[in-house]
Subunit: 272 residues, 2 copies
């Protein structure tokens, strides 16, 4: 009989804390699963870095999760999904789930006029990953992308509801809105924390697509298909390990997401 | 006869590109010196990271500079100066010059009412390094410190002259100004790029202390005392190596500082 991997953890990583939005969706959808989340806070952010660097970091974090016996690797970071997932899929034996494809699918389901906006970090937008993923599903879609490099720092400062955040958001969003988009992909796992502020500017006629929820649904399907789901009668938990001590934002994010977190420590190799 | 180290380069490092303000001061003051600058753009920023992590990064970058035969190591980053320099001085055989002590000396020389403000990253301010350095020189000084975590992202986006930058600056500076400071230490090597915007809010009665110029003077003295100065008839240059490819900001900064730069590549070890 093969060993039972179903009770192994779901491994999740992000450049920092933003991916907790994905962890929160996984907890809601799959409450019996154990989740091990690694935030690479020693090297955060990834969003302005090169493909080679982000790919290398992604492989290193995947290795750390495998060393903890992860049964699947969830890349809860759009930049790492855009730049790191292709190589991770070649290298790792466990399934690898990024956030780009679920977000792209959700955007195509949501749009009526086929005009879709995408916002993300500089690296995610420059990769063209969302454009490719959306056009693969619907070649008739028209896609407008904007890099929003200041949003992550504003979010990490907790300025969710702040006139400065509103002004910066308006600069990024008004040109997109003028293209007639009816759907906006929040292509960075931090951005769901700005949903109310974004909705205020985008207005009720634009649907906001948050890849966290859709990524969690994709993970559910993957686990079911691979017969790796934990029995439903068990109760899961969320363990969080960070590559560097961070103040404030972990608490802020956990609170905003109503998440119960156990902070854990990995081996020395984690402090890369 | 001992080997002549005087023509070896001055090694400079920063978490990113901000330390080019120090490199620019060194070029002006010591035009015959060769300068090798390493920007750790693969792990930038340091300003929100822990002491242990910043210390480890500082030692790694120091090693890279020594491998290139640097005759002195200049830490052109306030966060690394605050958290990394003490250990570097224990470990390295060449002189190590940070930016904190020169800035502290300049602040004490400049102040008349002995009320000094200091702005910097979260990690620099939390370290208390400026307070200690200033009080060591003048125990009667009164020091007010404020962490300004959004300034580096705004500067890296090139928003030097922008209403949003002005609003954020006002939030950080108005409480400091209300304490009656007559001197403000720009305790981050990025901040000199915001001097005009800061001066607009601080007004003419507050002197702005920029540690770049003072650090360059300290390096000049160190080299002279150790008989390591390059002969004045030679012409120097500035070589810049980055641990990750960065777009835009290197060009922006070089332009703003009127710096001529040769971009160079280090060995593989540099891509940590």
């Amino acid at each position: 009989m093969p060993p039972d991997h179903s009770r192994a953890p779901i491994g999740v990583f992000d450049s920092g804390i933003g991916g907790l939005t994905v962890a929160a969706s996984l907890r809601r959808l799959l409450p019996s699963e154990k989740i091990l989340y690694i935030g690479d806070t020693a090297r955060v952010p990834y969003g302005g870095k090169s493909r080679a660097t982000v790919e290398r970091y992604s492989l290193e974090l995947g290795e750390l999760l495998l060393a903890e016996h992860a049964k699947i690797i969830v890349v809860a970071c759009n930049t790492a999904s855009a730049l790191g997932v292709p190589r991770m899929k070649e290298v790792f034996r466990v399934p690898v789930q990024g956030v780009i494809l679920p977000g792209a699918k959700a955007a195509v389901s949501s749009t009526k006029n086929k005009i879709i906006g995408v916002i993300g970090t500089r690296a995610t937008i420059a990769s063209g990953a969302y454009e490719r993923a959306i056009l693969d599903i619907d070649p008739a879609a028209r896609i407008h992308c904007t890099a929003c490099p200041l949003l992550v720092p504003l979010i990490e400062e907790g300025l969710f509801d702040d006139p400065v955040t509103d002004q910066i958001l308006a600069r990024y969003l008004v040109p997109l809105l003028s293209k007639g988009i009816d759907t906006l992909v929040l292509g960075c796992t931090h951005y769901p924390l700005l949903k109310p502020a974004i909705a205020k500017i985008a207005g009720p006629s634009v649907s906001l697509v948050d890849s966290a929820e859709n990524c969690a649904l994709a993970v559910q399907t993957l686990l079911r298909d691979a017969q790796l789901s934990t029995p439903a009668n068990l109760s899961g938990q969320l363990d969080v390990a960070l590559t560097d001590a961070t103040e404030g934002f972990l608490r802020t994010a956990a609170q905003a997401l109503e998440l119960k977190i156990n902070q854990v420590t990995l081996g020395d190799t984690a402090r890369k």
